[in-house]
Amino acid sequence: MSGPRAQAGSIRRVSGPIVEAVGMASAQAYEVVRVGPQALIGEVIKLAGDVATIQVYEYTGGLRPGDGVQRTGAALSLVLAPGLLGSIFDGIQRPLSMLAEQTGAFLKPGVVADALDVARKWRFVPRVRPDQELRAGEAFGVVQETRAIEHRLLVPPGVEGKVSTVEPEGEYAITDVLCVMDGEAGPAELTMIQRWPVRRPRPFRRRRASTQVLVTGQRVIDTFFPIARGGTAAVPGDFGTGKTILQHQFAKWSDADVVVYVGCGERGNEMTDILRSFPELEDPHTGRSLMERTVLIANTSNMPVAAREVSIYTGITIAEYYRDMGYAVALMADSTSRWAEALREASSRLEEMPAEEGFPAYLAARLAQFYERAGLVETLGGDEGSITVVGAVSPPGGDFSEPVTQHTTRFVRCFWALDPDLAHARHYPAISWLDSYSEYVGDVADWWARFNPDWSAQREEMMNLLAEEDRLQQIVRLVGPDVLPDAQRLVLLVADMFKTGFLQQDAGDEVDTYCAPRKQELLLKGFVDFLRGTRRIIAQGAPIARVRQLPIIQDLLRARSVIPNDDEEALDGLLGRLADQLDELAREYS
């Protein structure tokens, strides 16, 4: 990064967050500038002659024509170093907790603070010796950032050569020089910090195909619409359908090593909720506090809209940084629609020609660029790292034909459609089993088959049951269920049981909130066994009323919240009793 070259332009026009300045002929596109007497942070988004159009990330009230604009010579970059985990930042990486302590509860414009604590000492353990050859992406040392995550200090992209000196193990600040390398381009001094421009994807060696499920602990997702590590998913849903709770559930229970949660144009209290609850919650995979693996980016709906646009990139750049260390990272963006609206707002103030519904024509390209930064890759250091992206979409009026939803579906491979009717009936998660899909089902079938060789067939059997139930419901609405033959009434019964006992999941229930893959698989088997067994019995002539009376039904329905994840014995016992009761009834009618 080149040092700041203070070179002044001057403001000509101010309209909301968009400022035009003259005397900016040498400015670069996407360079960071400091605007006006308060030195507000802005970014050059358009250049024409010596006029630069600047998007300002803070409230611009009081700016006037003639006020100065300082160039910094650098693109908007993040400070990447130990201390990111457990922190909450705004869209341009200002540390919100620290600001709250220093400047009070309200975010005043123009405040500056170091993104990370430069005074804090970290225990550095070198991993190289002098004269060792090092390439970009290889670790020269490590720092135990939290109990859960070892922070690998990597040689930044573009740097390679021979280690000339390296500091011994000890306590260092992130700004201390720890390792000096001699390369063709001259010596390079490495600290714990890497700076990286947010809009540029970090490099890796190559992409790999993913065959491993990112376990979310949510049955309807892992079993029916699974997402692979490095995959992309969209959660579209009208307000009140539970997008945010679902995103919180992913952030809590998915088996990623690191979680980056971007609250983009959403409610302030939702971020507070995470800040309050995550430190108390335990990661079921490592037993550590969830906050130790989480980075929060909060640009709530009332914070400056331009910073909302960049918050998504801030989030994914941090995700890439941990991916490069060889971690599986999951990024939740809530909500990409608010991000798209920030684009629209800026575009409208720039008086660009709008495409659909006022959105700029480059909306689709920007969405694609964002989702393409997900993936399972071989890092520069040769490790395997991944970023899984889950983006919430908030379609106006719940209409999925609007531009953001439509463009998003082109770039994601998982679509978890939220159904307002399910939400109104308090069926959560309100993921529609008819409208949702996952293109990863085939990719991850082998992963599931390790638990249960019959998994694909069982999954399909239950999907067919649900589709058939939907068809039968259309008849039932017209004539009532009584005219249906028992075999079809059985479909209604089992589908109903399956919805209550499997598809529904109670985020507030201590046991049910996370369902381990093994439990998911056994529960699925339970319902499939029940369906297959009762179908046979009905075919033998037993009335549906006898099936309804089976006591196992209540056990099956309550198993999700009664039987803990690790109690395999109880699950096996349930399946055993199920088989016994079915056999008994079958004998009666054979």
Binding site: L96, L99, G104, A105, F106, L275, H424, G480
Partner: protein, 473 residues
């Protein structure tokens, strides 16, 4: 107000309601406050919407009627639009800019505050979790209001949203605590008789002394509406953060507010998004709604109840739609319940309180609260389809189970939802009614409730125990 020797310009370039374009200006800042003097010398306030070189676009809050290109004088104040706030404002009535309209003098002293406020740092918020008892079953039982929550009422023209809001103001308490609320009512495009209704209702409940009214009447200049909620919330923030008070803010009617915003946007030739509303409507509404909440280090709170009328009862209209995406739930009024004479005509299925789960249950209300509420929702969601079926094949043809569902639906609406305008039910009473209604269904149908809760609270309401239509046992 502090006078800070403003710069004055004579004559403007263009007058286009509600904007004026002033050229030849120097040192004018974006969003600063302006005083526009008409040829007769009467002042009206305004704000700078855009500065471009030596031209300033000014939004005139008093409307542009009577302004001329040559005779208009404009004074720029060099600071954002501000209002003087103090505790003395409770018990008084003001216009949308904070000027008294009740004939009294301007409140003495106080602090000058920027009406736009400053965003709350999300890391400095306290998560709201204290249950407010409104005495209304469908709210307390199924869509609980939490201190510091923003919970709007979605209504339609002619429906009793005002009466519902007034009842909430009269009855809202924290169970077991005496502390009551200061109330701030911001009326945007509100009609004179609505103002009278609220005033009378607060007066008869004896709370008028704790109420501040900010009114931009339906016949007042429409652009004043855009400032009204901001002025009201500036006072609310002062009372909650600086004076540790609990404030309940009612904004009515947000649809009028949004229409005023659309008017200004269209006068500025902005590219519209849906239905002509500006693309920044979401951010604009968020800047208002997100001022609700609680912050660390302050005892006070701002609980926000915006009221909006859905044009043609359409919940997908941009105003309710964007509101619903920002607020923490919504209370939705339903035309068909209203026609049946049910008060409050709140649609259970469409309504939601997102913060309810954190404010109810053992220790706060009662252990069974969340579960019985979810069970009622699940059961009531079946009622519509059974009613549809009954209208096709006739009630007689329904299975016994379906008939019970029908009976449950009627009881839910008539006993649980329906209540008197002055009926103040405790949360225990509400939950007891909930269990009585649930008792119409057989125990095996109540899959959302644990055996433990069922053993404690469930009583089967069998046909025989209840009096029939003739009152015979």
């Amino acid at each position: 107000m502090i006078q800070d020797s403003p710069v004055q310009y004579v004559g403007v370039d263009r007058v286009e309601e509600p904007l004026i374009f002033v050229s030849g200006v120097h040192g004018v800042g974006y969003d600063e406050t302006v005083e526009v003097l008409d040829p007769q010398g009467n002042a009206r306030p305004g704000t700078v919407l855009e500065v471009n070189g030596q031209t300033a676009v000014v939004q005139v809050l008093g409307g542009t009627i009577g302004l001329s290109n040559t005779g208009t004088r404009v004074r720029f104040h060099g600071r954002p639009l501000s209002v003087c706030v103090s505790e003395d404002m409770l018990g008084r009535a003001f216009d949308g800019l904070g000027r008294p309209i009740d004939g009294g003098p301007a409140p003495f002293g106080g602090e000058l505050r920027d009406v736009n406020g400053v965003p709350i740092n999300p890391a400095a918020r306290t998560y709201p979790s204290e249950f407010i008892q409104t005495g209304i079953s469908i709210i307390d039982g199924s869509n609980s209001l939490i201190r510091g929550q923003k919970l709007p009422i979605f209504s339609g023209s002619g429906m009793p949203h005002d009466r519902l809001a007034a009842q909430i103001v009269r009855q809202a308490t924290l169970p077991g605590q005496e502390a009551s609320f200061a109330v701030i009512l911001a009326g945007m495009g509100i009609k004179n008789d609505e103002v009278e209704f609220f005033r009378h209702s607060f007066e008869s409940a004896g709370v008028l002394g704790k109420v501040a009214l900010f009114l931009s009447l339906a016949d007042a200049p429409s652009v004043e509406r855009v400032q009204t909620p901001r002025t009201a919330l500036t006072l609310a923030e002062y009372l909650a953060v600086d004076k540790d008070m609990h404030v309940l803010v009612i904004l009515t009617d947000m649809t009028n507010y949004c229409d005023a915003l659309r008017e200004i946007s269209s006068a500025r030739d902005e590219i519209p998004a849906r239905k002509g509303y500006p693309g920044h409507l979401y951010s604009d509404l968020a800047a208002i709604y997100e001022r609700a909440g609680r912050i660390e280090g302050s005892e006070g709170s701002i609980t926000l109840m915006p009221i909006l009328t859905m044009p043609s009862d359409d919940i997908s209209h941009p105003v309710p739609d964007l509101t619903g995406y920002i607020t923490e739930g919504e209370i939705v009024c339903d035309r068909s319940l209203f026609r049946q004479g049910i008060y409050p005509p709140v649609s259970a299925l469409l309504s939601l309180s997102r913060l309810m789960k954190d404010g109810v249950g053992a220790g706060a209300t009662r252990e069974d609260h969340m579960d019985i509420s979810n069970q009622l929702y699940a059961a009531y969601s079946r009622v519509d389809s059974v009613r549809g079926l009954a209208s096709v094949i006739g009630e007689e043809e329904l299975s016994p189970m379906d008939r019970q569902v029908l009976e449950f639906g009627d009881a839910f609406e008539k006993q649980y939802v329906n209540q008197g305008e002055d009926e103040n039910r405790s949360v225990e009473q509400t939950l007891d009614i909930a269990w009585r209604v649930a008792g119409i269904l057989p125990r095996s149908e109540l899959a959302r409730l644990s055996d433990e809760l069922l053993d404690r609270y469930y009583r089967r309401e069998s046909e025989r125990e209840r009096p029939d239509a003739e009152g015979n046992e």
